[in-house]
């Protein structure tokens, strides 16, 4: 996994999981950073797809939390390009879109998580944890339709 050289167990502190956030709404970024900051290491916040690609390359985070609708480059397109470049960060989408087609397109990029914004308080941290473990998490209203 890119970034965190995590030491394990027996009394040593774990280096925290490093997360990069991307959303074109600064308020959303602030809320998510606050939510995640107690548990993880939020290493950066960006507001569009191009900045995301740069920041991902520079910071080498473990996890990316991405909005889908962003200027210049959508979250889905950015995820595709990151995958193409061999970036191994685990991707979790955080979005207002509840359309199963979006979910499928998002997961097709190799992302592990798809969380809808109304459920951010409960689902995002769980999705990140699942992604770190290599498991897919989709916000429950969508999971059935999207996977069928």
């Amino acid at each position: 996994m890119a970034g965190a050289g995590r030491e394990s167990s027996q009394g040593k502190t774990l280096a925290r999981v490093r997360i990069l956030l991307a959303d074109d709404h600064p308020d959303m970024l602030a809320v998510v950073a606050h939510l995640l900051g107690a548990i993880f290491d939020v290493v950066g916040m960006v507001g569009d797809g191009d900045s995301l690609l740069d920041a991902a390359a520079d910071l080498q985070p473990d996890v990316l939390v991405l909005d889908i609708s962003m200027p210049h480059l959508t979250g889905i397109e950015a995820a595709r390009r990151l995958k193409k470049c061999g970036n191994t960060a685990r991707i979790v989408f955080l979005t207002v879109h509840e359309d199963p087609d979006f979910v499928r397109a998002s997961l097709a990029t190799g992302a592990f998580g798809y969380v809808v914004k109304p459920r951010v308080g409960t689902d995002l941290v769980v999705a990140i944890r699942e992604a770190l473990a290599g498991r897919i998490f989709i916000s429950p209203p969508l999971s059935k339709e999207s996977l069928s």
Binding site: A38, G121, V126
Partner: protein, 215 residues
């Protein structure tokens, strides 16, 4: 309370009848409590028929626990919102509830005002976890960012495990699930083989560890 003129329709599920009666009273000015049941099987029978907006359910119910019943309800009718109410403060249980699609997660010692908060959130498509449990989840995640391994049993296998862990004999479990005793035996021994459990005591331990039965 989010309102289109009609009160939200609620089903209550808890094997402590004194609680369902108390909740019915508390909720009745703001919701229409259309039914209350005391086990997961009964819940699965009436929920599709009554199509409530919300189910407020305990996790620890006999025969079929709330997580399992909730999981199946979400599969059948994703629009039904689930609000879990439990005495168990284990954050891993909350994570499991969220994974199956809970809209709300409360402790029985939570304030009544939180129940209304959770109902409001659920009606808006949002989710709410009582702060104590949210904090517990945070702490658990810090300690263990990747989470425990999930054993994947089929729904039927989980049903069998719950009944056996509750102390039912294979024959009793067979009667409850309407199958032959040898089918229960098949499931039981298959599960024990797959999970490398040596005896029934270990099966029960497994069931408790994996929230199939909740102490």
């Amino acid at each position: 309370m989010a309102n289109t003129g009609k009160l939200p329709r609620v089903i209550l599920a808890d094997d402590h009848t004194i609680l369902t009666e108390a909740f019915r009273k508390i909720l009745e000015t703001h919701c229409e409590v259309v039914a209350s049941v005391s086990d997961g099987h009964a819940l699965l029978e009436i929920a599709p028929a009554l199509r409530p907006d919300i189910v407020v359910l305990d996790i620890a119910m006999p025969l079929l626990n709330g997580l399992e019943a909730g999981r199946r309800i979400k599969e059948l009718i994703p629009a039904i919102k689930l609000i879990f109410l439990t005495m168990n403060e284990d954050p891993d249980l909350a994570v499991e509830a969220i994974r199956i699609g809970a809209s709300g997660y409360l402790l029985k010692k939570s304030a009544v005002s939180e129940l209304f908060k959770a109902i409001q959130a659920a009606l808006r498509g949002k989710s709410y976890v009582t702060p104590q449990v949210a904090k517990g989840m945070e702490d658990a995640f810090i300690k263990d960012p990747e989470g425990k391994k999930h054993y994947s049993l089929t729904a039927r296998q989980r049903e069998v495990v719950q009944l056996l862990a509750e102390g039912k004999s294979m024959k009793e479990a067979a009667d409850i699930l309407n199958v032959a005793t040898r089918t229960i035996a098949f499931h039981k021994y298959r599960i024990m083989e797959d999970l490398k459990l040596k005896n029934t005591a270990e099966l029960i331990q497994f069931a408790m560890k994996n929230r199939i039965v909740v102490p």
